[in-house]
């Protein structure tokens, strides 16, 4: 780690770092010239369609596929046993998460289907329409089994057990207990408590999941185009599970139509399409349609949390007691497992505040619902909502303004790095500064006045605050130490082109967040080259160095640092070369605007084109004992903390119609601290997009199931998502606390909006409802639930 306070000297001259530049790679998307995986056409392309289980839990008695096999255009029917012969089973456990367990899983159900929507049979035909026609002819005989659908009763002694070998439906339990909890609660001046519920919902990128797998039998080589955030993880998965050498698997991520954590998991239907390509020796495409997305994408959240907080009369948080229960799918997700949400809830409950005495428990239970996994802000929205909701109750109990209560309980600025009793360490947060900035931006006192003035007129507005922290730049503690082959490191290769440009290849991946632009800006700045001479390549295991890709708010912080280091190293190599050619010293030279210049006077010494031409074509001019290296690779992994936490605070201002229960969002503010900002234009709208996803969770999104485990609202008609008309303008402010774990100093920015928004909305609604003594804690906060809280809804 570099010394505190000293920044690399070059940083002050980095013209593109901090610049709000439009993204170069957005132009083709605007012109309709993007290439998403479903846009890909290959010679002899076949199409796979899945036959899925209509039951949440049922034994497969028989599969009659003859009629489908004889249907026009059908090339192959694959069942569970067929794919089991090709694909090694997978088990979604992290070895370093003590006590977690899951059962082996295969791409297509074998003997038993465990959720409505689990793929059972893959039908492959010359066209998708033919495959869909034939799929309807597949007859599966079912014997329905009792499903486990309610997490609350999944651990009851009489409950059906999804994996009989385990004896019960517990996947994982984690407990943190500092001791003294009951004693502190017993003598506290105030104890507040509430039960918070978050809905099960889905990442819902506009582009559904999809894959084209092309196995070439002549070379025994598999090329896969996949809508994925993690090409190298998938390369390893495909090689390992289909028994291919890793060098015979190439994974390409073309333009990806949104990820949000959905596209980092292994999905049976996609694996079945790969199996079909291996069998047929021709390319096979599988694109999930929206209806099957609802029952086959990984879901998230769905927690029930009982939360208690003990507070002194002066307004100090004394202790927190938290119990979290959530239902995952019938298996823990592969390869990242389904426990990270619960881990984050335990880690961060009460988190942005000084933690003294704490007891927290999280339990994940198996249930007969779709698979469950990491989705934007993993666990943080739950931890934030339960903490911030309880903090508002505590402030009210003490009779203190909620902003003041927060300020009083923040971790003092001189206590960093600060380690929570639950484990994580915060390198450095800027909570007080963020709060001050937010209150000024929103004119907090003015809004409170307006709120009070409107009350007598029957206008019920609420102001909700939510302080948040967000893990970013994770170390190998998240996956690698759990025995999973997911890189914690990222890398970048930069070469000087023959005309003095930069060709940058990075293991970062792009799904719209701007990784491509970040790589361009960082490389151009650190190397000293005009940005229009930089080309960035990403998303191809044959073309980029090894690395983790994009998930968990790590792109700019980790991948961006690798780009920074590679560009700096290239610059150093160029200076050493030119110093030798001109009998000078590297320290007397600099690279500026694509030219090597005298550092003092700025006088031109050599253009980068001349440098490249000399090194590549006129080697006769290069001293015999000197070999210029104008292609460099650098890697970076964050090794100091399990993650580098960002922080910030959000505020919502809204109006509740107490007759209809409708919520109108008026304004929303965010102050975020993601360290060094490479491109504010990109960061700000990414935060807004994240806030809107959080608003979706707070107000709209929920997968509704029947007691039998049938999804009742599995279409975009019935499952509500945030649209433009209901969303407010969102004002963004920043604090800048660069991380000292890297030279660039960037932390993640992609998830914090989603982490804090539901809590801010909840607190604002409850602030509006305060005169009625009403309160909502079950997301989404639908009109019906608000009316019920107001005592205005019938019992039906």
């Amino acid at each position: 780690m570099k010394e505190g306070g000293t920044m690399p000297p070059a940083r002050g001259t980095m013209q593109y770092i901090g610049a709000s530049l439009p993204r170069a790679n957005a132009l083709r998307l605007l012109a309709g010239r993007g290439q998403y995986v479903d846009d890909l056409q290959l010679p002899r392309l076949a199409h796979a369609v899945m036959v899925r289980s209509p039951h949440a839990h049922a034994r497969i008695v028989s599969i009659a596929a003859d009629a489908a096999r004889d249907a026009p255009g059908v090339l192959r029917i694959l069942t569970g046993p067929d794919v089991a012969q090709l694909c090694r089973p997978y088990v979604g456990v992290l070895l370093h998460v003590k006590g977690m367990r899951s059962a082996p899983q295969l791409p297509l159900a074998l003997g038993r289907a465990r959720w409505q929507g689990e793929p059972v049979v893959a039908v492959v035909a010359e066209s998708r329409a033919q495959a869909e026609d034939a799929a309807q002819l597949v007859e599966i005989g079912w014997e329905e089994l009792p499903p486990v659908t309610d997490a609350e009763t999944a651990l009851d002694p009489g409950a059906p057990v999804i994996h009989p070998e385990f004896g019960d439906n517990l996947c994982f339990e984690r407990v943190v207990d500092t001791g003294d909890v009951d004693a502190v609660f017993a003598r506290a001046d105030h104890v507040v408590e509430a039960t918070f519920v978050t809905s099960r919902h889905a990442p819902m990128p506009l582009e559904t999941r999809g894959i084209v797998a092309d196995f070439n039998p002549a070379e025994k080589h598999l090329t896969v185009w996949q809508s994925t955030q993690v090409p190298y993880m998938m390369q390893w998965i495909l090689a390992h599970h289909f028994g291919l050498p890793e060098t015979s698997v190439r994974v390409i991520a073309p333009d990806v139509g949104g990820g949000f954590g959905l596209k980092i998991h292994v999905f049976g239907d996609e694996m079945a399409a790969v199996a079909a390509s291996l069998v047929l020796g021709r390319p096979v495409k599988f694109i999930a349609d929206r209806l099957e997305s609802f029952v086959s994408d990984n879901h998230a959240r769905g927690h029930r949390v009982k939360m208690r907080m003990a507070v002194s009369r002066e307004g100090d948080i004394l202790a927190v007691d938290m119990d979290d229960l959530y239902g995952i799918g019938p298996f823990s997700g592969y390869p990242r497992a389904s426990v990270n949400e619960g881990l984050q809830v335990v880690n961060l409950a009460g988190g942005p505040y000084q933690q003294r005495v704490y007891r927290g428990r999280s339990r994940a239970v198996f249930q007969n619902k779709p698979m469950y996994g990491q989705y934007r802000a993993v666990g943080h929205p739950v931890a934030c909502a339960i903490t911030e909701g309880t903090v508002d109750l505590a402030a009210a109990a003490v009779g203190m303004d909620p902003a003041e209560f927060r300020r009083r309980n923040y971790i003092p600025a001189d206590r960093f790095p600060y380690t929570l009793v639950s484990g994580p360490t915060f390198e450095k947060l800027s909570q007080h500064e963020a709060l001050d900035r937010l209150l000024a931006m929103m004119d907090y006192t003015g809004l409170r006045r307006e709120q009070a003035e409107l009350r007598p007129r029957g206008v019920h507005r609420g102001i909700g605050l939510a302080s948040f922290v967000e893990n970013s730049n994770s170390s190998s503690a998240t996956y690698g130490q759990g025995g999973v082959s997911i890189a914690a490191q990222d890398a970048c290769t930069i070469k000087l082109t023959a005309t003095g440009g930069l060709a940058v290849a990075t293991s970062l991946t792009e799904m719209g967040q701007g990784a491509h632009a970040v790589a361009m800006q960082v490389a151009a700045s650190a190397a000293g080259v005009p940005i229009d001479r930089v080309k960035v390549v990403l998303g191809d295991t044959d073309a980029t160095p090894y690395g983790g890709g994009n998930f968990g708010s790590r792109g700019t912080g980790i991948g961006g640092e690798a780009v920074f280091q590679a560009a700096r190293a290239l610059r150093a190599n160029i200076l050493a070369f030119v110093a030798r050619l001109t009998e000078s010293e590297p320290s007397l030279l600099d690279v500026r605007e694509g030219n090597v210049v005298d550092a003092e006077s700025g006088a031109l010494r050599m253009t980068l084109e001349d440098v490249a031409r000399t090194a590549y074509f006129r080697t006769d001019r290069v001293p015999r004992d000197f070999q210029p290296e104008l292609t460099v690779t650098r890697s970076y992994a964050q090794k100091y903390y399990s993650g580098v936490f960002t922080n910030g605070i959000q505020a919502s201002y809204l109006e509740v119609d107490t007759d209809t229960g409708f919520v109108k969002l008026l304004r929303h503010w965010v102050v975020d601290d993601c360290g060094t900002i490479v491109n504010p234009l990109l960061v700000d709208e990414q935060i807004r997009g994240a806030v809107v996803q959080g608003i979706g969770a707070a107000l709209f999104e929920q997968c509704i199931y029947s007691p039998e485990g049938q999804l009742l609202n599995g279409s975009l008609i019935d499952y509500l998502v945030p649209m433009a008309a209901e969303m407010p303008d969102i004002e963004i402010g920043h604090c800048v606390t660069p991380t000292a774990t890297s030279e660039l100093g960037a932390k993640g920015a992609g998830e914090a909006g989603t982490a804090g928004a539901p809590a801010a909305i909840m607190n604002a609604i409850n602030d509006a409802l305060k005169p009625f003594g009403a309160r909502v804690t079950m997301q989404p906060f639908t009109p019906e639930r608000i009316l019920r809280a107001l005592g205005k809804a019938g019992a039906a």
Partner: protein, 166 residues
Amino acid sequence: MSTEAADTLEISLQVNGAPVRRRVASRLHLADFLREELGLTGTHLGCEHGVCGACTVRVDGEIVRSCLVLAVQADGARVETIEGLSAAGTVGALQRAFHERNALQCGFCTPAMLLAAAELVERQPDASREDIRRHLSGNYCRCTGYQAIVDAVEVVCRAHRAGGIR
């Protein structure tokens, strides 16, 4: 169920200014026709229920959900897609404004969003931010917070009022 010859029809239409004549399955929707038969992959499919708006194209000057229109219904029609509308006019101005304001991330909703926005700019250039939000509320974007999109459309509306787009 199967696609027999009897289930196909011959259609002729104009797509992005060029005449097109094809025999198509009667059940084929316009979006699949554009994407698969003509390779116009700038039109995207997000739900095939007419909800997400990603498949928006212009048919005889009106924006429609091409997943809800059968290809055979477009017989004799004038169809315009993002590929034919780019670079010039209102859509071109919107593309530039979207680019400058980063009013797109993954870009999957973008071609359709541009077509929906262009309709508003041309018909109601004095639209307020609320009007813009309402008009675009049939187009789902999961990446942006919609705000940059609203900003970009607002700028182009203003330019249109000032006679700046032509």
